[in-house]
Symmetry: C2
Subunit: 460 residues, 2 copies
């Protein structure tokens, strides 16, 4: 008697380039792992299960991987759109003003939003990370957690463009301590559902020596380095002032471009720099929604992929994107890149679906555990109602429209059931691990307090 059997699914296993479509498929789950994947007939003959989910008319696929998100920023969703000054004038006052309780409540809101749209793994870059980690324990979501490390002096509210920013040793030391605490307390915890990466905020915000110390730590703890790279012209300018080189060649010069690096954005990278990163083995996280809205730009992910790189997708942050939903990110990645290339064939649906699942998992170093439906992997999967009017009809021949419609038509609310680490986290769109309405009410309450303080400060 096994724990759980899902039957009569239109399976997308993500085990091949087309999505691994298996009609009338089944998945057997024992504990927190996938025991078998096959046809319904095969698995029903082989197993009996304590719980059987008959999902006829529905698609089942691996849970989505949000490979870069800042959940602590959710409380100021939508405060800074349509501006040239997103960071400094838009988001800055909230970023400076937010307290720990507000950051943690926002994080919970963002996790709930993501879960309800089929995200099962969140590669979350934040502070205060030890407190945010508790949200992952509570919700049952898979957390790949990165505590922010920088050496920006406390009280520095504005980074000046035309001079080198000051970097402060003791700040860096204190923030690295938080990361070490995270590694000790959380790495591999909750049956391995929660793991930790190391997070220099950007190569311009820490010294070379701290970057190298972090690299050594990543080796010790067998984890990766999650860092914003070439994320803006301010950063490139800073690197040129500090080291006389642009970001990516400089990172190459200090031996930073390898499989340990999970590089986010590359907004200001040239195609050649992106290709260099790919060839050296570093992964790229593409966040099309936030960069499109904040900067009106499309980072060089096509050049990165053409050079053989592994790329995932990230929803980044609510004040920038303004949503944290991987269906949105898949569509944005596919269409923004078509528009950039003036070519409807680039970034086909099958490719972006892989980036939101197995390739995202590879990018953040979790592909042995998640990202596809295969025996032995962790049981992270989602059930999608393809009979929602906007996803219907499902056609299988002469071509299958399932993958194109998941990428170009689905919006996230079609996800009906979420299983993470073998545990039922959402059923019939009801979250089972937390009270959604309480999460939203608390976020609303604290956001009003935060906004009132920001309003008060800006009127002074």
């Amino acid at each position: 008697m096994i724990d759980r059997l899902i039957v009569h699914a239109t399976l997308l296993t993500m085990t091949d380039e087309k999505g691994g479509l298996l009609p009338d498929g089944a998945v057997a789950i024992e504990g927190n792992r996938i025991l078998a994947v096959g046809t319904t007939q095969e698995l029903m003959e082989r197993y009996s299960a304590r719980v059987v989910h008959d999902v006829a008319g529905k698609a089942v696929m691996p849970g989505l991987v949000d490979a870069h998100i800042h959940t602590s920023m959710a409380l100021y969703r939508g405060v800074a759109q349509d501006t040239h000054h997103w960071l400094q004038k838009g988001v800055g006052p909230y970023f400076s003003e937010i307290n720990e309780a507000e950051a943690v409540a926002g994080s919970m809101l963002n996790i709930v939003e993501g879960l309800k749209a089929g995200t099962t793994t969140f590669s979350d870059f934040d502070n205060p990370m030890p407190l945010i980690a508790e949200n992952y324990r509570t919700t049952g979501a898979r957390g790949r957690l990165t505590a922010t490390v920088n050496q920006l002096p406390p009280g520095l509210h504005r980074l000046k463009v035309n001079e080198m920013y000051p970097l402060d040793e003791s700040t860096g030391r204190q923030k690295l301590e938080e990361t070490l605490q995270m590694l000790e307390e959380w790495h591999g915890k909750a049956d391995g559902r929660i793991t930790v990466m190391l997070g220099p905020q950007g190569p311009d915000m820490v010294t070379e020596s701290l970057l190298l110390e972090i690299k050594s730590l990543a080796r010790t703890y067998k984890t990766r380095i999650h860092m914003h790279v070439a994320q803006g012209d301010r950063e490139i300018n800073q690197m040129e002032r500090r080291y006389g080189q642009r970001t990516i060649p400089w990172l190459d010069s200090i031996g930073y471009l390898d499989e340990q690096l999970v590089a986010v954005h590359l907004t200001e990278a040239t195609d050649e720099e992106a290709a260099l990163m790919a060839k050296k083995g570093a992964a790229m996280i593409h966040c099309p929604g936030s960069i499109g809205i904040i900067d009106g730009m499309v980072p060089p992910v096509m050049a990165f992929l053409e050079a053989g790189g592994i790329a995932g997708l990230g929803s980044d942050n609510a004040p920038g994107n303004n949503c944290n939903n991987m269906f949105n990110e898949m569509k944005a990645a596919a269409v923004f890149n078509k528009i950039k290339a003036k070519d409807p064939t680039v970034m086909p649906a099958e490719k972006v679906l892989r980036m939101a699942t197995i390739e995202g998992a590879r990018a953040i170093g979790l592909a042995d555990e998640i990202g596809s439906l295969e025996p032995g992997k962790k049981a992270d999967l989602i059930v999608i109602n393809t009979r929602e009017p906007g996803l219907a009809p499902v056609i299988t021949a002469p071509v299958s429209n399932l993958v194109p419609n998941l990428v170009y038509a689905a919006r996230g609310h079609e996800v009906e059931m979420v299983i993470i680490d073998g545990q039922l986290v959402m059923e019939n769109r009801q979250l089972l691990t937390v009270d959604e309405s309480q999460v939203v009410a608390r976020a609303q309450h604290l956001a009003e307090q935060l906004a009132a303080r920001v309003a008060n400060r800006s009127s002074n």
Copy 2:
């Protein structure tokens, strides 16, 4: 005693450039019209109503206007993505093969999809239009209906690029008859909820004399001409062969660019041609989703708007887009144009929200009736749950995040209630006029038959 009072709403009346935000607002409805708009306190003192909707914590705004949609194409959603040959090889076989029952069932699926995402007015360009009109009668949606008129000979399955297409008088005559029948039978019917425009498919697909006859008819019936314009390089090439001019200068030369013209796409128009159209008073319908996916292009809507033009948004068709959802279209319009301009300030959220409501209504000639919440207008409005995790929190000061979040974060399923022409069409996400699951099941059934015929034909 009035019919209906909506109270405690966060109102977006769309009566000013910022959206006409009114906290704790109310709308009074009598019959099919808005009687009054004001604060909850004002309207509760003034009226008592047979039905009172308390929508505290929710936003209320005019129903969305889908200013260009082909609902008859919904059954082949998602069959032709990521290709250079969308029309000829992708969609063509389905377009040739579909029968009337299938087209009508697809239309119903698309209308249901749109209603559930807050679209209340559909500017629908299709055939067989008299049958599709019945879907609007049944669902309670507002239909602005256009029967396709072209002179392409029957059996012509493929338009050749390098020679003039044949145009056939009797085909044009027969299709114009259908339009005349539509005008007589449907224009102004269902209490004015259903109206009719005239629809030459494109300036390359009808003769000059038929175009001019249609213009005269539009004057007689006091309606507008809904036409694809500069929709592809094939069309421009055809116009140059036929008349020695590109589309828009030629239309100008025959006096076609005026307030009567609702011009769709402008994909291949230059900025100067778009500006010319705007200055002459023709309206533009921008369909960013479908043109982005099908062509990897962003039409010159910015140049059109800068020249003072009135533009609406359209979702076009399911095999191209692949969804028919104005929240998707608003986000696409805002972000695609930022990317095209490499400037995050272009196409701000407030602007695209207007294009999906009042300006879309102006573009299709219905602004006296719909598009904003004002006394005397038809009661077409939607209630949006802003406590969905992806729309929370709502902040009102120091800046309001409601409009940016409706554009950049909402996905359509947050729409809880739809009222059209004073009638409750959806409540608690349940459609009250048609059985959603039957609509989806019928669409699925007929799509399988259609796809089987296409598969059979392509394998022969």
